[in-house]
């Protein structure tokens, strides 16, 4: 950072978007798996 301006930082941007996509996908997949298991148990 120079004179109050942030330069670069794409690695942080990629980390934030990657984490968001990963968490949403993983959570969605676990929901589908748990729902299938709950239906099987019925």
């Amino acid at each position: 950072m120079t004179q109050g301006v942030v330069s670069g930082g794409w690695n942080f941007v990629i980390a934030a978007y990657g984490l968001t996509a990963a968490v949403l996908v993983i959570y969605g997949v676990t929901l589908i798996t748990r729902l299938r298991e709950a239906r099987k148990r019925q």
């Binding site: 930082g9 934030a16 969605g28």
Partner: protein, 293 residues
């Protein structure tokens, strides 16, 4: 098409028009689609219609076998989120002072909105469960708490990633960050409480009361940046955000809102199936069966 879905579709269409189409047209240089409504009011209409539309889908959902509405919403969410992320990463210009790091805003702010909305839905479900004694609301409450916790966790992680290059630290005990962490752990505690209590009646009542108490933190999180001297910036509005940033922000907000609604619908089904087993009368023993015959 099911007629019951129509009001929800109309609400989402109006929300998408003012939040998405008008902004996309302005982004492409076409003006005049806003029907003469000021941009601040357009954003309010878009947000209200989108939230009401999502809530409508949640309330008409019978927590039954069909997962079609949830699948459609999830599909719409993935499309909006992909478009918003593409524009946010590759089309929107970098911010003057924060440069490219500001692009984190397009996922961070919608996550914050939707986390607080999921917890507001949990609060409403808790109140409705206590007053109506309908197990559907208990299932929806559990679903919205879990989705709210996932989004709040995501929010804290995205915030930490954004804080490092801009503030120089991953975390600071600033009022906004601290109250958000308290919110995350309070609702995580309610999920733990629900896991440890076997009796569904006690579990439902205790967790509904705990949700109402924990919800007190939501307005504190929202207003913390105004009430206290905070390192975190104040809430953004169309007046404080450059027009070039509107489209990716709104597309991602719609995307995460649709995904949140779909996740709550699916998660409520898992809770409803568990409740169905727990509340079913125990099967008659062989001797009792003989007597009955």
């Amino acid at each position: 098409m099911n007629k019951r879905l129509l009001p929800g579709i109309v609400l989402l269409a109006v929300g998408a028009y003012f939040g998405f189409v008008v902004t996309l047209a302005a982004f492409s240089g076409i003006n005049g689609l806003g029907l003469g409504i000021k941009s601040g009011l357009q954003a309010t209409i878009a947000a209200l219609c989108a939230i009401l539309g999502a809530l409508y889908f949640l309330t008409i959902d019978d927590v039954g076998d069909s997962t079609k509405p949830a699948a459609w919403l999830a599909g719409a969410g993935i499309v909006c989120f992909s478009i918003g992320s593409y524009i946010g990463l590759f089309v929107a210009p970098p911010e003057e002072y924060m440069g490219d790091v500001q692009r984190i805003m397009y996922v961070h702010v919608p996550s914050a909105w939707c986390a607080l909305l999921a917890m507001t839905i949990a609060f409403a479900c808790a109140v409705l469960f206590l007053f109506r004694n309908d197990w559907k609301w208990d299932a929806r409450m559990e679903g919205s708490i879990e989705v709210g916790v996932v989004l709040a966790f995501l929010l804290c992680c995205q915030g930490a990633i954004w804080a490092k290059p801009t503030w120089g630290v991953w975390w600071d005990w600033d009022p906004r960050l601290t109250t958000t962490a308290v919110l995350l752990f309070a609702f995580l505690g309610i999920l733990a409480l629900r896991r440890f209590v076997d009796d569904p009646v006690k579990r439902g009542i205790w967790s509904a009361v705990a949700t109402i108490i924990a919800y007190i933190d939501v307005p504190i999180v929202y207003f913390s940046v105004r009430w206290w001297n905070s390192l975190h910036q104040q809430q953004s509005s169309p007046g404080t955000v450059s027009k070039q940033f509107w489209l990716p922000l709104r597309a991602n907000a719609f995307g995460i809102l649709f995904l949140m609604t779909a996740f709550i619908m699916l998660r409520a089904r898992i809770s409803a199936l568990r409740l169905k087993t727990e509340l079913a009368p125990p099967p008659l023993a062989e001797a009792q069966l003989g007597e009955a015959v």
